[in-house]
């Protein structure tokens, strides 16, 4: 069964597609819209998007597997992405990663059994001025240390 887009997402997709001279060109933003709705891009979603944009599912899969910001597995309600690149690592990201892993009880790339958290290591988040930093869903948190991480996570429902 292919997933049904909500009316709201359908409207958003129609608006995105209208912006481009070719339907195919709307692929990246349409995938983002789909991910906003379902949390990840399944094979079924790939096929729906392919049908919508009149391209082959293989082409959609190429794009989904190339870009790391499309989730190919379901993620928890909170997607914690911590930077492991140079600036953050120099300022102690390594121990923060260990701390997060221990606190959430999962390894990077995994989701907690209650589906609350997914924990990912990412490359640069583009916020070296507040290194070490992480994102929880679309929100940035910088200048992190262990107590700050505990405070952020403990305040999440």
């Amino acid at each position: 069964m292919s997933p049904e887009f909500s009316e709201q997402t359908k409207k958003a997709i129609a608006e995105i597609v209208a912006r481009y001279p070719k339907k195919e060109a709307a692929l990246l933003p349409v995938l983002h819209a789909a991910q906003r709705e379902f949390g990840y891009i399944s094979r079924a979603t790939e096929k729906s998007v392919a049908g919508l944009l009149e391209i082959s599912p293989a082409k959609v899969h190429e794009v989904v597997t190339f870009y790391t910001m499309y989730n190919r597995q379901p993620v928890g309600r909170y997607h914690v992405q911590i930077c492991s690149n140079l600036s953050c690592s120099l300022l102690g990201a390594g121990s923060l990663i260990d701390h997060l892993s221990e606190k959430l009880g999962i390894q990077p790339g995994e989701t907690t059994p209650d589906q609350k958290f997914t924990f990912s290591l990412v490359q640069c988040l583009g916020a070296c001025e507040q290194a070490p930093c992480m994102m929880v869903n679309f929100e940035y948190f910088g200048n992190l240390d262990t107590p700050k991480i505990d405070e952020i996570l403990d305040n999440l429902e």
Binding site: S56, A58, E62, T65
Partner: protein
């Protein structure tokens, strides 16, 4: 025209062309994996890098358009070093299983390493394992480890067949070409083009797997006779070894680019259906079931049979069954001989029944020259069994298709009423032992001549293979028969080759005159 310099040589080229084509036209091939003339330049393989004076970085020859005065260097040390670098990365993940790879000998990766590489590997890392021997289709195997990621296969399936089964997935060192669904099959009638497109051994033919090595094969150009498209092909055959008998001659067929006919592609029927060239062939003259190697005797016997009827004024009791497998020249000679000179009673056509075509190349006709027969003025008259039964003393049949159009018992029933039955065919069939005279002839692959395709495009062909056994081309038999009948000896003596016959045709039939190649 624009003046450019390649390796300090002044060259005039057409405006708008690319460096790649300008160099190729000047006889300077540029190494490449991803570029293929059937597709827009892709620029992914980085093998075609060249140096252009005034440009800081090396440029892609496949996509760079030439400009007036451009100075291009295709072989200097900087360019060679870049190519060596590209090869080093490609080979970092390559299995180097050339000794068991069917592409060995035809492989661009092998050739370029020979020309630009020749380095010792600096990689101490273990190579990634990827999919091998993946069944990709009825005729195809896929080896992901040998792939150089040129995307030719992906582009073919998107741009030519529009089926889009494959893609390039993941990124960086993990990038691989794969089908979208696991185990998905490419099952269209053009799948074999993937194996021909693949510049390395990543997609190979199953029928060719471990059969022979490509360097033993000799390629001869011909025309595919399996439908009326008449695609240009090369037939790759093994000459055999002195002490070791091979089971067959033909090991594979590949497409040859002909823009007006087939472009760079052929269908799977034409590519993989070559067994007819070696199997069930009629190779010996059989007179009343007795084998005889003497062509002159056979032709004299046939002409004597015809002349006997002529002297009894019974030429209207001669029936001829022609075939649209015959070349233009042969159908023309048949017209001269049977219609104009002898005035035989009846001429029929027996062809393989039409089958479903497709919207690319394959046509419903399963014989190559239906259009040529029409242009020569032949009508497609199906065999009238009643006429054979009652009004025929001598029956001359061309081609293998008559016996499939009627039941064998009906045909043998007719044969009982006919004094003399003669069959000229390249293939052994159920009639071979039933006729009074069997003359083995050659398929298109073993003779010279021309065919007219469904769109009226005329193409010449030369023998790609030697004639098998005692078989001979129909055009030469018709000329010999014409001479033996002694009706117009001078005329038939003059027509000593398909070219001479074609000359004669162009003078007589305007269609062939305007179509001279």
């Amino acid at each position: 025209m624009v003046k450019i310099y390649i390796n300090d040589r002044e060259i005039e080229v057409k405006e708008g062309t690319t460096v790649f084509h300008a160099a190729l036209d000047a006889g300077i091939p540029i190494p490449h994996f991803c570029y293929h003339p059937a597709f827009a330049p892709e620029g992914t393989c980085r093998m075609c890098l060249v140096e252009v004076e005034g440009m800081p970085k090396l440029e892609l020859a496949c996509s760079l358009q030439i400009r007036e005065g451009m100075k291009i260097f295709t072989q200097n040390e900087r360019v060679r070093e870049a190519r060596r670098g590209v090869l080093e990365f490609l080979l970092a993940e390559h299995p180097l299983d050339c000794p068991i790879c069917d592409q060995a000998g035809d492989c661009k990766l092998q050739d370029y390493y020979e020309e630009y590489g020749l380095f010792d590997s600096r990689f101490s890392e273990v190579k990634d394992k990827r999919g091998k021997k993946i069944r990709l289709g009825k005729y195809l195997l896929h080896d992901q480890e040998r792939c150089v990621l040129c995307r030719r296969c992906v582009r073919f399936l998107r741009e030519v067949t529009g089926t889009g089964e494959m893609g390039v997935f993941e990124r960086g060192g993990h990038t691989k070409v794969d089908t979208y669904e696991e185990g998905q099959q490419v099952d269209n009638n053009y799948s074999g083009n993937l194996a021909q497109l693949c510049p390395v051994g990543a997609i190979t033919d199953t029928d060719f797997r471990f059969q022979t090595r490509s360097w033993f094969l000799e390629a001869g150009e011909s025309i595919c006779p399996l439908c009326s498209r008449g695609c240009r092909i090369t037939i790759q055959a093994h000459r055999g070894f002195a002490r070791f008998k091979l089971p067959k001659r033909v090991y594979r067929i590949k497409a040859v680019d002909d823009p007006l006919v087939n472009g760079p592609w052929i269908c799977d029927k034409g590519r993989y259906g070559y067994s007819y060239l070696d199997e069930n062939r009629a190779t010996r003259i059989l007179k009343k079931g007795e084998s005889s190697p003497d062509w002159q005797e056979a032709i004299d016997w046939l002409s004597a049979s015809i002349l006997r009827l002529k002297h009894r004024n019974r030429l209207e009791r001669v029936s001829v069954v022609l075939s649209s497998r015959l070349s233009n020249e042969e159908l023309f000679l048949a017209k001269k001989l049977f219609k104009d000179d002898l005035g035989v009673g009846r001429v029929f056509f027996a062809d393989a029944p039409p089958e479903e075509g497709d919207d690319m190349l394959l046509t419903p006709d399963r014989v190559p020259n239906t259009r040529g027969a029409r242009e020569l003025g032949w009508e497609d008259v199906p065999v009238d069994m009643e006429a054979l039964n009652r009004e025929t003393d001598l029956l001359l049949m061309f081609g293998p298709d008559f016996e499939n159009a009627h039941s064998l018992s009906d045909i043998l029933g007719c044969f009982e009423q006919i004094e003399t039955t003669v069959l000229l065919t390249p293939f052994d069939g159920s009639l071979s032992s039933q006729v009074d005279l069997l003359l083995p002839t050659t398929p298109v692959a073993e003779k010279a001549g021309s065919l007219t395709n469904i769109d009226g495009v005329l193409r010449n062909f030369q023998p790609a293979l030697p004639a098998l056994g005692h078989s001979r081309a129909e055009w030469s038999l018709l000329i010999d028969l014409g001479k033996a009948l002694d009706l117009r000896f001078q005329y038939y003596s003059r027509l000593s080759s398909p070219e001479a016959v074609f000359q004669e045709m162009t003078g007589e039939i305007p269609f062939f005159e305007k179509n001279v190649e």
